[in-house]
């Protein structure tokens, strides 16, 4: 690198005699610039990497990677046992595995969503982004996509490990492939729902610690409330209510969609009744995700540029 001092510092006459502007070596850039697409991609990749602590301090890598390891561990164990001792099928279906991951995923998004957006807001870095040819919508799209991808990796990788285990154990190929695809659809839906909810909350709570607490509270409380409503409805014999109780919980919602769409046996009691039920679960999911996207867009429309 050349420092300004190395450069030619002869004064450049500037018309009149009174003042001169010294050429201290700053250069203008007149070449072509990378456009919006590049910015979007960079922002997406940077956020995604950040969600696993890459490009951040060593300490920030611990939490996401430990959680990710916890999430993969049962899958690895199952795969190993399946290969070592043989077996006709997986001890749990892919959607059931997704269900057992739900707590871990909740903690993961609660930990990562705030760092993905709230630092930009708190230190007013958003104004720097928006002074580029990047539209506010683009920022939201990039962050949402990155968060979704991060959660998808979190839940998808263990499923792929399971799948790999079944292939190595020579379980029926097509059956497993179909099953894992269903599981991956579930993972994608989970990622969209959780990513959306967590980003909305993170974007309105610029303090990191508080953002984490707020997200986990919403997710956990939604889950427990759904569970309690389900339990009470079952005990008092209200079948319709119990069938729709899981709409209240983000993970239950996704399970409902999977069970309805792919005609699976009920996952932990989640089974939407018939076509109507499936449609209700599906439309609530779509509504929820689009509401989150809308709220995020609205939030960033309000962020001042200065």
């Amino acid at each position: 690198m050349q420092t300004p001092a190395d450069r030619d510092t002869t004064p450049v006459p500037n018309g009149g005699a009174a003042g001169v502007i010294h050429d201290i070596g700053y250069q203008r850039y007149d070449g072509s610039r990378l456009g919006r697409g590049y910015l979007l991609r960079t922002l997406f990749l940077d956020t995604l990497r950040g969600c696993y602590g890459f490009g951040r301090s060593a300490k920030s890598k611990i939490m996401p990677l430990v959680l990710f390891g916890f999430g993969c561990l049962p899958a690895i164990i199952i795969a190993v046992i399946l290969n070592a001792f043989g077996g006709e099928e997986l001890p749990m279906t892919y959607p059931e595995y997704l269900w057992t991951l739900s707590m871990l995923v909740s903690i993961y998004v609660a930990g990562q969503a705030p760092q993905a957006v709230s630092r930009d807001l708190r230190f007013r870095a958003t104004s720097l982004y928006f002074s580029r040819p990047l539209r506010r919508g683009d920022y939201v799209v990039a962050k949402f996509a990155a968060m979704t991808a991060a959660v998808l990796i979190f839940t998808g990788v263990p499923m792929l490990i399971l799948y790999l285990g079944t292939l190595l154990a020579k379980l029926p190929f097509w059956e497993q492939t179909g099953d894992v695809l269903v599981g991956l659809v579930g993972a994608l839906l989970t990622a969209l729902v959780l990513g959306g909810i967590s980003l909305v909350i993170a974007a309105i709570t610029p303090r990191r610690g508080f953002g984490v607490a707020a997200i986990i509270t919403v997710l956990l409380v939604a889950n427990s409330v759904a569970g309690v409503v389900f339990g009470v409805a079952q005990e008092t014999g209200r079948e319709t209510l119990s069938a729709y109780a899981w709409v209240l919980s983000p993970t239950g919602l996704v399970d409902g969609v999977l069970v309805g769409l792919f005609d699976l046996p009920a996952v932990n009691g989640v089974s939407p009744p018939g076509t109507t039920g499936c449609l209700v679960y599906l439309s609530v999911t779509v509504l929820l995700v689009s509401a989150c996207a809308g709220l995020l867009l609205g939030r960033y429309r309000k962020v001042s540029v200065s």
């Binding site: 300490k59 903690i107 984490v212 427990s224 009470v232």
Partner: protein, 242 residues
Amino acid sequence: MNGVVARLTLRSLLGRRRAILLACLPALLLLMAVAIRWMAGPDDDLAGNVLGHLVAGTMIPLLALIAGTGAIGPEIDDGSIIYLLSKPLSRYRIAVTKFVAATGVVLVFGVVPTLIAGYVLTGQVSRLALGFTLGATAAGTAYCALYLALAVLSRHAVVIGLLYAVVWESIIGGFVPGAQALSVQQWAMSLTQRVIGDQAAELGAKAAVGLSTGVVLLSVVTVASVWYTGWRLRGLRLTGDE
């Protein structure tokens, strides 16, 4: 105790957004209680289930997490704690005050609603309602102390606290019986179980540890955590932003 520290702590704890979040939890609990009572009438089984899951398993740990870490975490994060530390004031006194403030918040937003919800669900000030209220008090106190200590120990106190409350107490505790012996929730449940009496197990208030073990462990954790907070404050390093 120090009045000024308490007031400053409460003011930041009950700031607008935090207060909304804190108030959401009891509001939801009461809403659920009323709805269930309306659907099912007074029912001890249901009440035990609801209070066990919603109060002991979710609400109290979360409230204590928000209050316990919130009582000191943000101040350490942004460095304003220095205004408390640069005073001729015992660090232990600061720790105790913060602990009392956080516990007070949990009492108001967690324990009182528990009693009301118990009353609504069972239709009377029953042993069940009292048992869970006592359990919530004990658990809230211990959690607050624990999370306060966590907040002076690490900047990631909220996530670590969550891992403890959710992963350790619920998930691991669900599979590994030994893990339950090291769970604030279970220790407090021993109190609940004792108050409810013989029917406790049927009502979902079965603790993994005995009463005396529970009480001793609760007290030890609470006292040790508050003491540790004070000790840690004596040598707190005030570093810059992340």
